[in-house]
């Protein structure tokens, strides 16, 4: 009788133990199915049971073949967590060495930041008048007498950070949907050639319309349209799951424009403001592991 009771008690204990482990098993299965990996090929290690499923953001953006984002890049779910609905928060300042494996894609504004900002490093992939529509189609970059598009130049190196800042020259292009789509396409193309890089989308720094008018600048350069573009860029960053940097908020004054003393033509920043831009980049960085990027493999 005692033996039967002992057997019953042990069975009950075993049943209770298995009940406690089942939520973890369900979570793992769901995670793997979200990542597009079948249970047969699931990694041996299970996700952290302490992380709620809502913390894990699935890659919603369509991936090009070979893009690392589509795979479960980290066995630890909390390591791929990043809140793409918000701009990158302020972080501890990095030194200029952080930018040694970075490339900056942009127009004349970014060129100014690289020349006067004091970073002193990073590949300069800027061109006057460059637009988001040009990345794959405009061979405006000359290297040793050969012409390349920005994307072709990107393919020639491996970068850990890519800073993209385009949109000012597009303000005269009144098709916001195409602008948005072009940003998504650009991110997808960049990710395809640099799958391990952190992609930073830099929101547009405001303009000073009074100075633009006084110096004979283009009348389509307005902050009203720039704010719309910033919102589209932020949405594109969220959609594509890349980091958005809210430079606008750091440079706009109480009149909702760039301070007059910040630019001599209302568009391009003076040296001191280029330094502020560079300082913003130093203090708004994201750890690659938070984005599920394995940069050790890339390097």
């Amino acid at each position: 009788m005692k033996t039967k009771l002992a057997v019953l008690l042990m069975t009950a204990v075993l049943l209770l133990t298995s009940c406690n482990t089942s939520p973890q098993a369900i979570l793992s299965e769901n995670d793997f199915s979200r990542s597009g990996v079948s249970g047969d090929h699931a990694p041996a290690s299970s996700p952290d049971p302490g992380t709620s499923r809502s913390d894990i953001t699935p890659p919603a953006f369509p991936q090009k073949p070979g893009a690392k984002y589509s795979a479960p890049v980290s066995p630890e779910p909390e390591e791929i967590f990043y809140d793409f609905t918000k701009p990158a928060p302020e972080s501890a300042a990095v030194d200029n060495a952080y930018f040694e494996d970075a490339a900056f894609i942009g127009d004349s504004r970014t060129d100014g930041m690289l020349i006067y900002g004091g970073l002193g490093t990073g590949d300069n992939l800027t061109h006057n008048g460059l637009t988001i529509f040009d990345l794959e189609s405009n061979p405006c970059f000359s290297r040793n007498g050969v012409k390349y598009t920005a994307l072709e130049l990107l393919e020639q190196n491996t970068y850990c950070k890519l800073y993209l800042c385009l949109g000012i020259n597009e303000l005269g292009y009144f098709n916001d949907i195409e602008f948005y789509d072009a940003y998504l396409d650009a991110i997808q193309s960049i990710r395809a050639v640099q799958p391990s890089a952190i992609i930073y989308i830099q929101g547009l720094i405001p303009l000073n319309e009074g100075v633009i008018q006084a110096t004979g600048g283009k009348d389509y350069l307005t902050n009203d349209h720039l704010v719309i573009y910033n919102d589209l860029m932020r949405q594109a960053a969220q959609e594509a799951q890349v980091v958005y940097l809210d430079l606008y908020s750091s440079f706009v004054n109480e009149d909702q424009e760039l301070p007059e003393e910040a630019s001599r033509d209302g568009v391009h920043l003076t040296g001191n403001y280029c330094k502020l831009w560079a300082e913003y980049l130093r203090t708004h960085t994201v750890d690659p592991s938070a984005l599920g990027l394995d940069q050790e493999e890339a390097s």
């Binding site: 020349i115 006067y116 001599r264 920043l269 280029c274």
Partner: protein, 159 residues
């Protein structure tokens, strides 16, 4: 044989006095305050921003032309931060030979600026096409002015 050696010696001396490469390292045929004179001489339409030597070295792609960073021994470089293409630079190199390489780099830089601004800022093209690029000994002077005639007046003794 002696005649040949003497002729070679005098030819070397004569070549040494002609244009770039004429001066030994350390001599400056331009006045020390030339860039300041130009900057304060109504040559430019805006105050120009100062560049560091490292930035100037990168900006002018001197490395691509075989000039090492240490061969750029002294510099003054002032440049628009983007509103215009105006700039003034006085670059001193370790030798006349390095200055010649620097001259090639700056010629290419000017052409690149013209190409990059042809459609973007056509109003800047006359300034770039009217740029002064002077080489004396181991010193190069580049001037992209708003008022080309004002710059010409200041640079006349050296052109």
């Amino acid at each position: 044989m002696k005649k040949i050696i003497l002729a070679s010696f005098f030819l070397t001396i004569l070549w040494g006095f002609a244009g770039c490469g004429s001066k030994e390292s350390g001599t400056d045929p331009f006045p020390a305050d030339l860039t300041i004179t130009l900057a304060e001489g109504n040559c430019f339409s805006e105050p120009l921003e100062e560049l560091s030597g490292d930035v100037a070295y990168q900006l002018y792609h001197l490395e691509d032309y075989g000039v090492a960073r240490e061969d750029l021994t002294a510099y003054t470089a002032l440049r628009s931060s983007g509103s215009t293409c105006e700039e003034v630079a006085e670059l001193t190199f370790s030798s006349g030979e390095m200055a010649e390489l620097g001259q090639q780099a700056l010629e290419n830089y000017l052409q690149t600026q013209i190409d990059a601004n042809q459609n973007y800022r056509p109003a800047e093209i006359p300034k770039l096409e009217g740029a002064f690029l002077l080489c004396r000994g181991n010193v190069l002077v580049l001037v992209v002015a708003n008022d080309i005639s004002a710059a010409q007046a200041i640079l006349e003794p050296y052109t």
